[in-house]
Each structure stands twice: as C-alpha cells, then as structure tokens.
Amino acid sequence: MSEELRAAAAAGVLSVEQGYRTLLQAIVEVARAIFGARASSIFLLDEEADELVFEAVTGEGSESLLGTRLPSSTGIAGWVLSARTPLVLDDVSQDPRFARDVAEQTGYVPDRLMAVPLLHEERALGVLQVLDRTGERFSLEEMELLGLFAAQAAVALDLLQRARRARAALDGADDELAVVARLAAAVDARAEGDREAALALLSALERVLRA
C-alpha cells in the first residue's frame, strides 16, 4: 500500500479537499478585512507545470480568476516566490518587476500591494497577495502580521496539496487496497445518521475477516 493510499485511508481524505479550499478562501477574506484591502489572493505553485494558479480570491475580479494560471516567474508574485521574501510596494507602477500586462488581463490593476511567500518546511508552496490596502503608510508591524497569515495559509496549502495527491493516487490506483480508502471516504461522506449503519456494517465485516 503506497504512502499516499495509507494517508488517504487514514484521513478519509476524499472529502476533506473541499474543506482545505474553504480554509484558504477564509484566509484571503480575513486578510482582506484586516488590512482593509480591495482584494486578496493566494497562488499555488504547480511545480510540474511551473505555473502559479489562483487558488483563492476575494474582492475585485474574484469570480473569473479562480484556476487561472500564470508562468511561475510572472510579476511580483513570481519574484516573491523565488526570492522567498515578502515584498511591499506603495506604487507598483514604479517597479520594474510588476507585470502590468498580466494584471490588465485579470481585469484589475492595483496601485499598492503586499506579497508574501508561503513557506512550508524547505519549500515555497505559493504566494499570498493583499492588494490596495487602505490606510497609512505600510509598517513593519503589518509585515509581521502578513507573515503570520502566510504561516497559516502555507499549512492549508500543504494540506490541500496532500489531499490532491492522495486523491490522484486513489483515482489512478489499481492497488487492491485502494478500495479500503474509497470505503473510508464513502463512509465519511455520509450524513451523520446514515454513518452509524455503515460503520456497523463495516464492523461486522471486520469481525468476519478476523475470524
């Protein structure tokens, strides 16, 4: 049984993927509210495709952007990802790293932005951006706050990636034990009342198998 399958079976993982997406969405919404920003987004790095994917978006232009892909070196987000350090710009138009053409394609061109890499262990998983916050000049306290959000988002992003890898392993698995993981997911997906009957059935099956 592969490591992914073991993890999938243990976590009943097929149903949690949506939960992690909801968590990421909550993080951008809270970040937007706390910084009083017009928009906030999280990019996930797709290492195989070498692209950044909009994984959670709130505010200006949010509807259409989810799932949009950009080359991983694009603009401020790309710079922050490779430099692994936050960047704060009070006038993006003055910064040669800003990819205006890409921003225009997204339908929203910010004036000011904060971007922070999502670091988990030794990997850079993505980027959190906060666009056009209101208020005074940016402070170092805000940078620390952004770092705290980034730590939270990085954990959520890591879990989301694990869940997706596990699902991919299950979907493609001809491992005879994959059925166990699928059973766990099916039980987990049932409503509370139905779950008891399913668990009773499985317990009975377990007794038979152990006999």
């Binding site: 710079w79 040669p96 940016f138 402070s139």
Partner: protein
Amino acid sequence: MSEALPAWSLPASAVDRIGITIDWPDRVTREWAWAGSTGAGVRVCILDSGVEPDHPRVGPLARSLVVTVRGDEVFVDEDAEGDLAGHGTACAGIVRSLAPDCELTSVRVLGAGFTGSGRVLLEGLRWAVTEGFDVINMSLSTTKKEFASVLHELADAAYFRRTVLVASAHNMPVESFPWRFSSVVSVGSHELPDPLAFFANPSPPVEFYARGMDVEVAWLGGATIRSTGNSFATPHLSGICALVLAKHPELAPFQLKNVLYLTATNVGGGL
C-alpha cells in the same frame, strides 16, 4: 606579526611577542569609531545578484565576478552580466552611500528573478572568505538545512580570518541561515529614516536593527525604487562596518561587533 606564534599553547618565551596594541579610549563613541572616515581602503564584497556597472548610486566596482558550479568543479569568472535582479545593485548603492570611498566587489551567486542554488551560494561565500574581504554583505539566506553546517563552518572561518560577515535576518518567522550564527553580524529592520540609526537587540538571534523601511535604493537601468526589507537594512550596517574598519583596521570581528554595540542608538549612539 613577524614570527608565527604557537597555535595551541603559549610558552613563557613567547609572551613578549603576543602583545596586542589597540588604543581603546575610555569611552567608545561614534566620534572615535568612525568620525572622518569614508571607508577608504576597506574591501567590501556584495554576495548577491550582481551589481549593475556604472550605476550612478554605486560608482566604480573593483571587480565583478560570477560563481558557477559544474559537477564537482567551481568556477569564479569575470562577469559581464551586471545584475539580473536589481537586488545586488540596491545593496551596493546603500554601502556606497555610507562609505563612499570603500572598494566594492560584486560576487554574483543569484540569477534573474533572484533565483539561485544553495551550492553556488556556498561556493561564492567560500571564495569570498578565502579572498579575505574585510566585509561581506549577505542580504540573503537559505532555508535548506543541508547547507547549514557548511555555512556555519564558513561563518566561523570568516570570523577567525578577520572578515566580518554581515547577514540579513529572514523577513518572516522561518528558520534560515547563516544569519542565526553568532559568528556573523545579523541584521533586521527598524522604521526610522536615519541611515546611521541602528539598534542593538538585547534578545538575539537578530543582533542589530538598521534602516530597512521605505528605503530609496538603486535598481536596474540606472533607476531607483523605494523598497522595504532586511535586505536593505543589512548593507546599512555593512557600510557602518566599513567606516569603522577604515579608521580602525586592527579590529577583529568580535571587537568590531562590540564597537557596534557600544555605538548603537540605544546604547551609546549619538555621544
């Protein structure tokens, strides 16, 4: 020193030869530490993304080199690329603004987009330490633990070879190197606009805070931009180190660190 001293013990016959003459004042002040200094004669290495040649904020470079690794072989060659990211030029410009007559050398270990490999970074640092620069500005760090022990050895080697390694703390609460090592001078940011304001931190591992917020820095194409981060605080302290070492070249890194402490804004600074 004319005659080598024994490395592991001090025989009575060698005591006369181990005399160290530094005239310490009763009180170490900024006046004593660097007043009148322009950094002349001090060799500063910018270990970064390269430095744009002839940038008005940087001026002339002594040398511009690039580090590459192919297999087990390390190459340090003259570099005609300049700076592909802007970051190294920004750091060089800050050092120059504080120590206008210091000698600046660029050692490029990062490429376009501020990307690079840990191995190239290590070899660049190794080369710079061997070369014997007075100050190495390292506005970068690695989170890769596999490099930590070698970086630690190099930082210690620099310390004993009288090379001051001035290293940026990470801007986020993550573990990275080499700034965490006690043999380097580690730097974070404060919010004051004064380039000579710096603070000693009584609660390390970040040992000093220097100007790092909303700094106007040199960037690609002869331009300037405003930027924030420990990357820009670090060369402020490197510049101050260059000023002190130009006036007091006899100071070893631990003594220089003590002078920084005694002249910090929150200790004796401004006196």
